[in-house]
């Protein structure tokens, strides 16, 4: 068998079809679109069935905690009468330590049901541990493929910790240097082993996250007696936000959904030299923006993570602000959690200051912390890599050069990304070279893809 890069990539569609047990072609429409809802329904699981499956793995029903002291701190920074109540969904309480357990569980369950002997997943994040954890419970073998090292062999401490955890849970970990060709290694492993592709982006994975949104609505109503006003989701590949928002909708919840990412603008995600200049390996704009405007740039033909369909607003926060709020969570609430998951908390801290005191904002995740994956080692690693860390105004932070810890919590700000600009980019991507062949069905697809009206879609197309 020819295992050169080009030869493996040429076999991509066949390998993926065999490794997901799903024929994505059947959802394609004539023209540029596909039937997203039909693809989601093709999992064959209702939300109640997914909850039942997740309960078999002891996943879900995580605590919803009111952060009273952090709310008090936000109120001290806010104008008179402002400062919404901040709640956090303690997803670190899931087996494997993050919401990703929900996402992994459905894939692993499906793999077991279809008779696969193991699962392969490509991730440097918490998802690897989640797949390893569920595979351990299901008695399946597991391979996790990570982008971990730069060309000098220096690993990101956060990613090394995740390798350790995957190994602790029985997985084989394959570690690579920087580069998107990781995908060809995954394809080769899928072909070699015949295992299931527990991709982050299949309908199984995203359907698994819907229970998180559903639970937030149920728990919040039971605890506070109404719907939350805002739910903030850390956004990287888009699955967290997509699944949560779909779950909220299924529960009939009226909350606005706001995406939050760490601002890493200026850093190239495939750059070897910049790999260890980042202090966040996920939850950042380097994934969040490209995956929103081009969701199908993933390891399945059509990604089930389509965040532009669901986000009402998209804000960024600085690395220093997220580290700061992570320490606040420990010092004021007694909750020591991993920094990346607190991206949405940093955003919520500022967003709460624009809302009235009787309004409520939910941060929909926490993640586990440990050696390497914690504010202290991550700042220590940054300092060793020549990043200038000091107190000041976070707006002066330059990703890859400085981390500015807010001199006062009132300096934590959010920056809005231009959602209409991203919607136009999404339309441009989807239309490609088919501008003159678009049908009414294509226009409807683009309206759904961008959560916008016909006039917006038609004007964006006219401007291409």
């Amino acid at each position: 068998m020819d295992n050169s890069y080009d030869a493996i990539m040429a076999r991509k569609n066949e390998i993926i079809k065999n490794a997901v047990g799903m024929d994505f072609d059947k959802f394609e429409k004539p023209g540029i679109g596909f039937d997203y809802e039909a693809m989601m329904e093709a999992t064959g699981y209702t939300i109640d069935e997914i909850r039942r499956v997740q309960s078999l793995f002891s996943i879900g029903n995580t605590p919803l905690i009111e952060l009273k002291n952090l709310t008090e701190l936000a109120r001290k920074c806010a104008p008179e009468g402002k400062g919404a109540r901040i709640f956090i969904k303690d997803e670190a309480s899931n087996p494997s330590g993050s919401f990703k357990a929900r996402r992994a569980c459905t894939s692993v369950y499906q793999a077991k049901k279809l008779g696969y002997k193991g699962v392969v997943t490509a991730t440097s994040g918490n998802y690897g541990a989640a797949v390893a954890c569920c595979a351990a419970m299901a008695g399946l073998k597991c391979i996790v493929v990570q982008e971990c090292y730069d060309s000098k062999g220096v690993g990101q401490p956060e990613i090394i910790e995740k390798a350790r955890k995957c190994e602790a849970l029985g997985a084989e970990v394959v570690q690579l240097t920087v580069g998107p060709e990781l995908f060809s290694t995954v394809l080769q492993l899928l072909e070699e082993t015949g295992y299931f592709n527990a991709s982050l982006y299949t309908p199984f994975g995203i359907a698994g996250v819907e229970t998180l949104g559903y639970e937030i609505a149920e728990q919040f109503r039971a605890k506070v007696g109404k719907d939350p006003d805002v739910v903030v989701c850390t956004n990287a590949g888009g699955g967290n936000l997509t699944g949560t928002a779909r779950g909220l909708r299924k529960a009939g919840c009226s909350a606005k959904v706001i995406a939050a990412s760490v601002n890493l603008s200026g850093l190239h995600m495939a750059s070897d030299a910049q790999f260890n200049k980042k202090s966040f390996t996920t939850g950042h704009t380097g994934f969040g923006v490209p995956y929103a405007v081009n969701p199908d740039h993933s390891d399945v033909p059509r990604s089930a993570a389509r965040p532009l369909r669901y986000m009402d607003r998209y804000v960024t926060v600085t690395q220093g602000s997220v580290f700061y709020i992570t320490e606040c969570l420990a010092s004021l609430e007694g909750l020591e959690k991993g920094p990346a998951g607190n991206t949405s908390l940093a955003a919520a801290f500022r967003l709460a200051q624009d809302l009235d005191r009787d309004q409520c904002i939910v941060v929909q995740e926490t993640e586990y912390t440990g050696a390497g994956k914690h504010i202290n080692p991550q700042l220590s690693f940054a300092r060793q890599n020549g990043i200038d860390i000091h107190f000041g105004d976070p707006k002066d932070e330059i990703p890859g050069k400085s981390i500015i810890l807010p001199a006062h919590p009132s300096l934590i700000q959010v920056t809005d990304l231009d959602l209409d600009h991203m919607r136009r980019s999404r339309i441009k991507r989807a239309v490609g070279s088919h501008k003159d062949e678009l049908t009414d069905e294509d226009i409807r697809f683009l309206m759904e893809e961008t959560n916008s009206d016909e006039a917006f879609v038609r004007s964006a197309i006219a401007a291409l």
Binding site: S4, E167, V173, E181, H268, A270, D272, Q378, F381
Partner: protein, 99 residues
């Protein structure tokens, strides 16, 4: 010297620089795509020898032996004084100056 049956880490070059994706930044493209896996060594070998291992999932993989009994060294990093200062600052603001 590593013995047959030892738990080792092996290293391989997946793609030499000239075979890498054309869409990469120059600094990345100048380097090979490298891979590390761990497994049980299938024959005695010196560090630097090419050898075969059987991995945790039972796969056979070949590569240069780079470590015997590999272990994790990541930790909680050096002391970062700013972290303490953040805690002190926000506790004072939240709970008052007496805190």
């Amino acid at each position: 010297m590593a013995k047959k049956g030892d738990w080792v880490q092996i290293h391989t070059v997946v793609l030499p620089p000239e075979e890498r994706s054309s869409a990469l930044p120059e600094d990345t493209k100048a380097n090979p795509l490298e891979m590390w896996v761990k497994g049980y060594l299938q024959q005695d070998a010196e560090i630097g020898d090419e050898a075969e291992v059987i991995t945790r999932t039972g796969r056979r993989a070949r590569g240069e032996v780079v470590k015997v009994n590999p272990y994790f060294e990541h930790n909680f990093g050096f002391f970062i004084p700013e972290v303490l200062e953040i805690g002190n600052t926000v506790r004072k603001i939240t709970f008052g100056g007496e805190y």
